[in-house]
């Protein structure tokens, strides 16, 4: 999948930030529990995927990879 490291970084940072903000808002009582849970339900899957993609994503300057038989 042609996805540059920078692009994945944006997704990873955004999902992590959303989770942190929701967590802070929950602990300070700014949002109810159900609202925080709704945010986690949306942001957690994005965090899992972008974290995995970020580990493997190239910077766009690598050689062509071996893509199977």
């Amino acid at each position: 999948m042609a996805m540059k490291r920078k692009t994945v970084e944006y997704g990873l940072t955004a999902s992590a930030l959303i989770i942190v903000i929701a967590w802070i808002a929950l602990t300070t009582g700014a949002i109810p529990l159900w609202a925080a849970e709704a945010v986690f339900v949306v942001a957690f899957p994005a965090l899992v995927l972008t974290l995995g993609l970020w580990w493997r994503a190239g910077g766009g300057e690598e050689d062509f990879p071996f893509i199977g038989y």
Binding site: I19, E37, F40, P45, L49, G52, L53
Partner: protein, 281 residues
Amino acid sequence: MIEYLVCAAAFGLLLLGIHRKVIARIQMRPGPPVWQEILHALKFSFKSTWVPRTASATLFVGIVLVAIAIWSAALFVVLAGESILILIGIYMLHKIVEHGFGLSSGSPYGKFGGVRSVISAASEIPLFVTITAIYFFTGSLLLRDIVAYQAVHGPLLLIVPPAAIAMYLVILSKLPFGPFSIVESKEIVSGYKTEHFGVWRAALAVTDGLKTFVLLYAFVLIFLGALPFWLILALMTAVLVSLSFVCAITPVLSPYDSVTVQSIITGLMLAYIGYLWWVVP
């Protein structure tokens, strides 16, 4: 809250590792270490990832996000003691998600897995008729009310054992290597999971971990009630080991036989509920 998701996924994967280990030992094999499924999830997240040319890219990636999202929601539903009807709704959504996985890749193996998922839904979901038996006694489908009922009257496992057996079969249907695991049996490679590799498979592993944790946790809460958390974890493991015994000594049924067996059990459950309706005031 996020720590609950991470811990539940990790413990669920550990349970799946124990599942593989128990099956292997019963079959006189050494088997993988119990943390193998956690290692698998990590391993897949480091593997090369791309979208097959035959796939619908949006559905191929989007369905992975949906899979994690629905079981994350299911965990919050169980932790909050909300209605088990929502849990059943999520279970039904999972069948649609499996179907989506299968169709998104364009692979014939995935499609077969997706189609089998729909076939099995016809027999698995009616097993949830068991909640009617629970409702006859508790008068509520909220998990917290069911738990409160058991604190007064004792475990529902002893009051409505057939309902517990039916729910047990629902969990068995969702475990790998079980007699009803027709959606990912080996004659169709890995079924709906076949073409999802690399990061997508790692995310699927997270989904499987969450799903296993939620179903076993819900089973213990619904049929044994509120207990110390360590005891709940121990009972979840004990239930899983018993399921592993079943998986180890039974072959994967053909799709036709799987649906037939589950349909017969659903019929028996309906008869039991008719009996309860007759005798319970």
